[in-house]
């Protein structure tokens, strides 16, 4: 008997009846077949008889047009899907990316801009690496130089805030660079992809002039928040409004469905910076999360890494046991920065003894920089500045809004 392939028409004898259906796959020893009623069932493969192999179904061609009078936006895809297509015959969901696909899936986009699309990667965002961040930065920079009014980067949400921070450090941009993703997959009618995409395109043609993440502001489909790339964090595994600005209010909001945009006075405006790129990253940096009883042996060996970000407790502490080992590391040239696992609030190592000891041995205070952002910043600083004094200056100042001079009131 012919080996069954996905899409083959088959006849299945089961429970004394014959069903017609489509062969889908083999799973855990069962043949999964799609009955003509639409249901999948898993049955013994011996019950299935091959009938025919249909010609592949061509996808309906619906052409879309772009409006040349609208501003040009570039969309760079890294694997986050804006659009997807379900083949109900086989149940397969495939993500779609070219401009036609996107405009067909989200017709509203065509009223905002015209689009140029680049598919840079198709990976899950947990598989991102600093090397990919660098390529992404180069791609973003290229689009800016090519005259894009704004750049949209579609990205898996898991590590979107890391990537957006990395691009923010590497690229000086006069135009908005908007990272966007979706928390609910694009194949479902409830997906947040449409609203996030429309709001991100709106932000990308707006007077904004910095790298930002645009995602749902609440569980309702009422508005998206525009978050500064270096102050945003994924704070929920699954909610639409998982992305939250930490320690600052969002840079603005895009209302939905009106697409009215509101930028805060603090948002960097379009044209504030000349385009530039400093794409070097020193990957030899590590983020370490401290907990009580964590042995100093968990620290990297001397010389193992160039930079180490600690996520300490409270105002920025680790066990007193760690001080000698940290001192050795610092003395041997490892740059160590302290951040807080509290995430909100500012590190201040002047208040308690442990903190003062840390300052004494040369650990750098990370102010209110988020631990993950501090890691990315460290890679960037060590990659682009070799003079230790200037490094320290960079660490203690805000390069792209990652640390703030004042702590606002909200928690």
């Amino acid at each position: 008997m012919e080996r069954l392939k996905t899409g083959d028409r088959i006849e299945c004898s089961y429970a004394g009846t014959r069903f017609n259906g489509t062969y889908i796959t083999s799973r855990e020893g069962k043949a999964v077949i799609k009955l003509d009623s639409g249901y999948n069932i898993g049955v013994g493969s011996d019950t299935c008889r091959f009938m025919e192999r249909p010609d592949p179904v061509g996808r309906p061609e619906i052409s879309t047009t772009q409006n040349d009078s609208l501003p040009p936006l570039s969309i760079i895809s890294t694997g986050g899907t804006i659009a997807s297509r379900i083949d109900y015959r086989t149940g397969a969901v495939t993500s779609q990316f070219d401009a036609d696909d996107i405009l067909r899936a989200i017709p509203g986009l065509s009223g905002i801009a015209r689009y140029r699309t680049t598919q840079l990667y198709t990976i899950l965002s947990e598989n991102m690496t600093p090397a990919i961040w660098q390529e992404l930065a180069a791609a973003v920079y290229k689009e800016i130089k090519n005259g894009a009014t704004g750049v949209i980067v579609t990205h898996g949400t898991d590590t979107m805030s890391y990537s957006s921070a990395a691009v923010s450090f590497m690229v000086d941009t006069p135009v908005p660079v908007i990272f966007v993703g979706s928390q609910r997959s694009a194949d479902r009618p409830s997906s947040d992809n449409t609203m996030n995409a429309l709001c991100s395109a709106t932000a990308a043609v707006s007077p904004l002039g910095e790298v930002a993440v645009v995602m749902h502001a609440s569980t309702s489909d009422d508005r998206c928040a525009i978050h500064r790339a270096t102050r945003v964090r994924k704070m929920h595994t699954s909610r639409r409004d998982a992305f939250q600005s930490i320690g600052i209010a969002p840079l603005g909001y895009v209302d939905y469905p009106s697409l009215d945009i509101h930028l805060s006075p603090g948002a960097v405006r379009r044209g504030s910076r000349e385009p530039a790129i400093s794409p070097v990253l020193d990957e030899s940096c590590r983020l370490l999360y401290f907990y009580p009883g964590m042995p100093p042996s968990a620290l990297p060996e001397t010389g193992e890494v160039h930079g180490l970000v600690l996520a300490g407790t409270g105002l920025g502490h680790v066990s007193t046991d760690w001080i000698p080992a940290l001192k050795t590391l610092v003395d041997d040239g490892t740059i160590i920065m302290m951040t807080s696992q509290c995430l909100n609030g500012r590190v201040c190592d002047r208040v308690y003894d442990t903190g003062r000891d840390l300052l004494k041995i040369g650990v750098i205070e990370g102010a209110d920089t988020l631990p993950e952002v501090a890691l990315v910043k460290m890679m960037w600083v060590l990659g682009n500045e070799k003079d230790p004094e200037k490094q320290r200056l960079l660490f203690s100042s805000s390069i792209k809004g990652e640390c703030m001079r004042r702590s606002l009131h909200g928690l």
């Binding site: 089961y14 429970a15 004394g16 009846t17 799973r27 855990e28 069962k30 999964v32 009955l35 003509d36 009623s37 639409g38 249901y39 999948n40 069932i41 898993g42 049955v43 013994g44 996808r59 309906p60 619906i62 659009a83 997807s84 297509r85 379900i86 083949d87 109900y88 149940g91 397969a92 969901v93 779609q96 696909d101 067909r104 899936a105 017709p107 928390q183 609910r184 694009a186 194949d187 479902r188 009618p189 409830s190 997906s191 449409t194 609203m195 609440s218 569980t219 309702s220 489909d221 009422d222 595994t237 699954s238 909610r239 639409r240 469905p257």
Partner: protein
């Protein structure tokens, strides 16, 4: 009517909510809530996904693209899964076993590996935009020899509060969907099989009861007609009527088709703008309209006004189609002059359109967009009349009539629910499922074993309070007393305003025990239950509404009774005890313990006998 002759074929699709502890894909209780208890709300838009668009025309595509804004009410008994903000938890095992039990009761064969599907539903009733559903078992049998095709396990949709507002309490309650083949041939058979299906489901003791927890759809066709699906027949008693009237409707539509064909009738493919003809009309509706369109149905005269179901005409069917565009209704010349439209105007209409009295003209008056949409719908439905019966999904009207709802759905748009892993139904698990006693069997057993009236036995067996009855019987309370109190007294005092949900099973049994032991009279039961419903303890209730009589008072009563019947007592001696016991107990209305009464009575009888 000879249904065999007209070739009636009917099938049933039953949706039954399961009474599991938790929902199908999350750990929330399957609890229906009052909407005023909602803890919050949010709103969402649902969008047809791109693949939906491929095959359909631009207008429909436009329509499906139109974003609709839905509002959802949350409760402290709902969670992020209902909000479509968390992946589903693994399939609820209790619901799976229960649905397999039901399948086994119908003699069905389980699917070896159950695959959960997403079925697209974008009417807002599912926050995700799809309903999760899985085919669990196939090929069961019915007592009439018919076949049950499939049994699916699904999640219940959210309940519509009003407009586009939905309540999330119901979303995710497990539901079995049982679909029979079109194996029934008379309206009565449909009713009977629907009843049977319901009985089997209730025999599990684990299905939800009450309004809306079971919904029946009926598929009906006759020879030469078409398959019609009537949605949401909630009352069993109406099933037969629905079938009858649908058969009648199909017969009439076939007759109309034959007439039309013999007349050479046809439909003008586009509407005419006749707004100008009615500038001076007396019809307030026409006067208000921005535009008036006319559809010419050549050769249709008289048939549009022909009654196809009691009170419903072919014109009503056209009107139902037109209403989908938001218009209030249509006018057609079969019913004119009327509604302020004069005979002259009708004549002018014919003249202007070049039609005659043999033709029927349908008028639509509305905004340009709506009117055009409605006129095209009328043309569509009129065209169907030339083919006979169009395949439709219809909704039930109060009397058993039905009205057009939407076209029959195409193939359901389903794709795998990848967030839920497939479940193997191991043969050992299937074998271990034990079948519950059918309620019909149980009713028979009650009547034979407990000696209660057959009707009462059936009533109590089918009652929601069956578990309470069975407990009472276990506790040796008189079965008839228990059944009558449950079926009669409780309903009675509820009708009078008592909140019987406040009467716990424990309290209820205590009251019956009190009656059985003579601490309270049978007659006091309604009053006692009323007081318990208000929060009183059983003893407290007895104390208040049938206060205990002091030994002295009791003594006086007994003395009086015995003295009054001194002759009888002296004659019967101790044998007078039993008859007099009844007299005394009636007097004290159960306010005294039988033992004490008997003791005192015995002494008094002795006294009177001695005094002889």
């Amino acid at each position: 009517m000879d249904y065999e002759k007209i070739g009636l074929l009917a099938g049933i699709e039953i949706h039954q909510q399961l009474d599991t502890k938790e929902k199908l894909f999350c750990r929330c209780p399957t609890l229906l809530r009052k909407t005023e208890e909602h803890s919050g709300e949010y709103h969402r838009y649902l969008r047809a996904t791109e693949s939906e668009m491929g095959e359909i025309d631009d207008a429909a595509r436009e329509e499906m693209k139109r974003e609709r804004k839905f509002t959802y009410y949350t409760y402290d008994s709902t969670c992020l899964v209902e909000n479509d903000e968390e992946p589903p938890a693994p399939l609820n095992q209790e619901a799976l076993v229960l649905s397999l039990t039901i399948a086994k009761m119908f003699g069905m064969t389980p699917i070896e590996q159950i695959n959960m599907m997403r079925k697209l539903v974008i009417d807002g009733s599912n926050t995700s935009g799809f309903q999760r559903t899985a085919l669990i078992a196939v090929n069961g049998t019915l007592p009439n020899g018919g076949r049950i095709e499939t049994l699916c396990l699904e999640e219940e949709a959210a309940q519509r509060v009003e407009g586009e507002i939905f309540s999330l309490d119901r979303l995710g309650i497990p539901l079995v969907e049982i679909t029979t083949s079109p194996c029934m041939h008379t309206p009565e058979e449909v009713r009977e099989m629907a009843g049977y299906l319901g009985m089997v489901l209730r025999s599990t003791g684990q299905v939800k009861r009450g309004l809306g927890t079971i919904r029946q759809d009926v598929n009906i066709s006759i020879t030469g007609g078409a398959r019609i699906e009537v949605k949401g027949v909630q009352e069993l008693d109406l099933v037969a009527d629905v079938v009858k009237r649908e058969a009648l409707r199909q017969q009439n539509l076939i007759m109309i088709r034959d007439q039309l064909l013999s007349r050479g009738a046809f439909v003008q493919p586009a509407p005419f703008d006749v707004t100008g003809l009615f500038t001076g009309t007396g019809s307030s509706i026409l006067k208000k309209a921005k535009i008036i369109l006319a559809v010419c149905l050549i050769g249709f005269s008289g048939l549009v006004g022909y009654e196809i179901q009691p009170g419903r005409r072919l014109g009503t069917e056209m009107s139902d189609y037109a209403k989908k565009c938001g218009v209030g209704g249509i006018f057609h010349t079969d019913e004119l002059p009327a509604h302020g439209i004069t005979a002259d105007e009708v004549e002018a209409l014919h003249r202007a359109l070049g039609t005659t009295e043999k033709d029927c003209i349908v008028l639509v008056a509305a905004t340009p967009k709506q009117a055009h949409c409605a006129a095209m719908q009328v043309i569509k439905r009129a065209g169907f009349a030339l083919d006979g019966v169009p395949e439709e999904t219809r909704k039930m009207l109060p009397e058993g009539n039905t009205a057009y709802m939407r076209p029959l759905p195409g193939a359901a748009r389903m794709y795998p629910e990848t967030d839920v892993l497939p479940v193997l139904v191991e043969p050992s698990m299937w074998d271990s499922i034990s079948l519950p006693e059918l309620l019909t069997v149980r009713a028979l057993r009650f009547s034979t074993e407990l000696g209660i009236d057959e009707g009462l036995a059936r009533q109590i067996a089918f009652s929601e309070r069956l578990p309470l009855f069975e407990r009472a019987v276990m506790e040796r309370i008189n079965p008839t007393l228990a059944a009558r109190t449950i079926l009669g007294t409780l309903k009675e005092i509820q009708r009078d305003g008592a909140d019987i949900s406040m009467i716990s099973d424990d309290r209820f049994i205590e009251v019956l025990h009190a009656v059985e032991s003579g601490k309270a009279a049978k007659e006091a039961i309604p009053e006692l239950l009323r007081m318990v419903a208000k929060g009183a303890g059983t003893d407290e209730a007895i104390e208040k509404c049938a206060p205990a009589i002091s030994r002295d008072q009791l003594h006086a009563i007994i003395t009086k009774i015995v003295d009054e019947r001194a002759a009888f007592v002296q004659e019967k001696g101790n044998a007078a005890l039993v008859p007099l016991m009844g007299v005394v107990m009636a007097e004290v209305r159960g306010s005294s313990d039988g033992k004490i009464v008997s003791e005192l009575l015995r002494k008094e009888i002795e006294r009177v006998c001695k005094s002889r």
